[in-house]
Symmetry: C2
Subunit: 462 residues, 2 copies
Amino acid sequence: LMSLMMGNGMSGTYPRYQGTLRIDQNLLINSQYTPGSPLFLPSGAHIYNKLISFLRAQYVRYGFQEVLTPNIYKAALWETSGHWENYKDDMFQVSGRGVSGVQDEGDQPVEYGLKPMNCPGHCVMFSMTSGSRSFRDMPVRYADFSPLHRNEISGALTGLTRLRRFHQDDGHIFCRPSQIVDEIQKSLEFIETVYNAFHLPKPEFVLSTRPENFMGDIAVWNRAEEALQTALNESGQPWTINEGDGAFYGPKIDIILTDSDGKKHQTATVQLDFQLPERFDLTYKSPAPELEAQGIETTDPEQLATSGLVRPVIIHRAVLGSLERFMALLMEHYRGRWPFWISPKQCKVIPVDNRSQELIDYAKRVQASLSGLPDESPEARKIPVPMSKRAFKVDIDESADNLKKKIVKARKEGYTFLCVVGMKDLADGMVALDVTHPEAIGGADVMGLVKRALGAEGSERV
Amino acid sequence: LMSLMMGNGMSGTYPRYQGTLRIDQNLLINSQYTPGSPLFLPSGAHIYNKLISFLRAQYVRYGFQEVLTPNIYKAALWETSGHWENYKDDMFQVSGRGVSGVQDEGDQPVEYGLKPMNCPGHCVMFSMTSGSRSFRDMPVRYADFSPLHRNEISGALTGLTRLRRFHQDDGHIFCRPSQIVDEIQKSLEFIETVYNAFHLPKPEFVLSTRPENFMGDIAVWNRAEEALQTALNESGQPWTINEGDGAFYGPKIDIILTDSDGKKHQTATVQLDFQLPERFDLTYKSPAPELEAQGIETTDPEQLATSGLVRPVIIHRAVLGSLERFMALLMEHYRGRWPFWISPKQCKVIPVDNRSQELIDYAKRVQASLSGLPDESPEARKIPVPMSKRAFKVDIDESADNLKKKIVKARKEGYTFLCVVGMKDLADGMVALDVTHPEAIGGADVMGLVKRALGAEGSERV
Ligand SMILES: [Zn+2]
Ligand SMILES: [Zn+2]
């Protein structure tokens, strides 16, 4: 079995660039022990974590609150959400103990489902904490990076774009009907800002509208579709319409990226949902409840004197979509030359000669210093490293190759900074700097290089 | 079913402080849909994420590389690791599709296990990337925050200390036998630094040694136990010994905290493992392989001329252990008064009067500014928020309660900073500051408060 697994690790079904990168940059591997669930090596986990840090910084602006929700739920949840009826074959079934005190359970095995999406868990959270939630507390915006599992048929698994285990930058907005336009607009703005930051080609925006078998109130649908059209128009993005192609529970906007092979990938999505709030009986308190439910604001004192429970609308939204799929698109987009801020290969230290232990030691001190790890006394090590401490990804080439070969190799591997150190540098406490931009070759002391890297991290973000 | 779930959310089996905090601070809730798998509300997720950020900063110092590994693996992995034989009843069983091209699989349902620990996945990663790994590349240190699942009997579930789904600050060190002492010493230093940072009472260190049914070479055991004793002695911590109480596959050090009820909790652990490297056939290349395997360094040229494959030793280590259990201990330790850097309740803005819309608006601007969200123009919003942007957790009290009542409430809730704003402050652009340390009451402008909060975040870390 080990050799089978090794074989799978070395082959795989990655498209063009991913195939190369997986080997050159050691981002991810596949194992036959768990097909469709890649293992993220340190460099892959680094990129994944940078994407999440980047999104978290944006979440402050857009008012998302991160939550962390369970991975398995009993069949009863999936019955409530409708997944058991419509989606069961695409879910991994889990068997585990129940709880005593619940009918037909005890410690007997009961049926759970491994979650394919976060929405039902977020509905449970909303409903359990609703207590006295009023219209003033809306919208509530939950974000979640939980791993998701889908029991895809093996023929559908392709590289990172279709997996059995993946992560989304998932978010659910629970809002008043009158807040739909504003929330959609902000979601589109969020998407535009992020896609610009990666210098990605302009995505396509596609609106899918009411199908024949729609649920709910046609007036609410009309207002919602109008809201989506208004938001799309105000975004200034060109967009197209897929008449009647919305889900039965709400209209949506899909964001579609085209890769360099011309293949289209759905990444971001903004999906309205009138159904889940019904299924989970979600409510908030509002004056003028009948008008509120239709998204109509009133100043009529008679209406405002009434009060009641109103269903929120849910907006499912993802900006990057599947983080794995988005990573695959970025791999192809950057072709291994990651922007400095996200790169797992920020710098490589290259001693001109690996026969001098003194020089190797100096190169290692340069590496440690750039990595955010200066020499520390035993006393200093009793103090935790501050969370604000900046660290860079710095490798070292201790091989016996000649200098030219080492430089060519490091460039091919996609390092942003190359630090060449020789005996003179050792004496001067300097390094010779070779960055990917040829005009920037020159000498720098180590702290100068750290400052420069910090600057690069700021400016190369976008 | 909904009412059942709501009932469970409101009751639960939390011990003293957790019970109170869960309601007062809204950290976590339980749902009958998934017993033993708490849902982390925004404040709970905030604390969880801060713990992880804190550990990640330390990982740079200690050379850990974060990885992200799958949640489900086929039975074959658990057979290799030995879990299927010894631990199957404590694992959730998963049924999902296999892959075509593998015997007896195709898209037929095959048996998977939901991982109870990360070690087997890390062994797969080590073995698949071992290629030409040499003694120079050792040690390899993987860290992983994956969710873990254990099919505990329902009677065993208690609060956050015993769960079915939890997270560990899990790490595995793959090292040369000669590196054991150094790695153990660094692990103990890591643990000591972190526990000091939380001002936790000194934990107990307990060494468990070779049992009757040990596996492997007695000489290796002797050297390993000597290494652990040396590391414990050099740590300066008092420690005790549990003779013969080690696992059959290696000796270990357990770190045990006592809570204020006198109950003992095992948190950190440092466990040597001679077995998993055998089961997964892990190797690295080394000169003088026979001496290398015994942890003996040699300068004998004849020995050094030989080369071969050697088994690494694995050290399983966790510093906080279960993050959920550690959070429970911190809840009790701090009694709701979280240190500023980790607190989900860093500041509360209190307008003296909620009838003035002008004052409420000013209070909201103060809140936005402290939260890291100053007024932004539409143009500014096209630029992503930098990852380095600091944001604080700031709430606002818009209730009609009188000032005194609002202050008492905010203090009881455990806020570090209270910002009281009145009409004069509005005119001056100031806030009246009330921090938990009574000597610090005074006025401050908003930017002064931000600076002060940044200072508090630095200095109150430890
Ligand atoms: Zn959703
Ligand atoms: Zn382990």
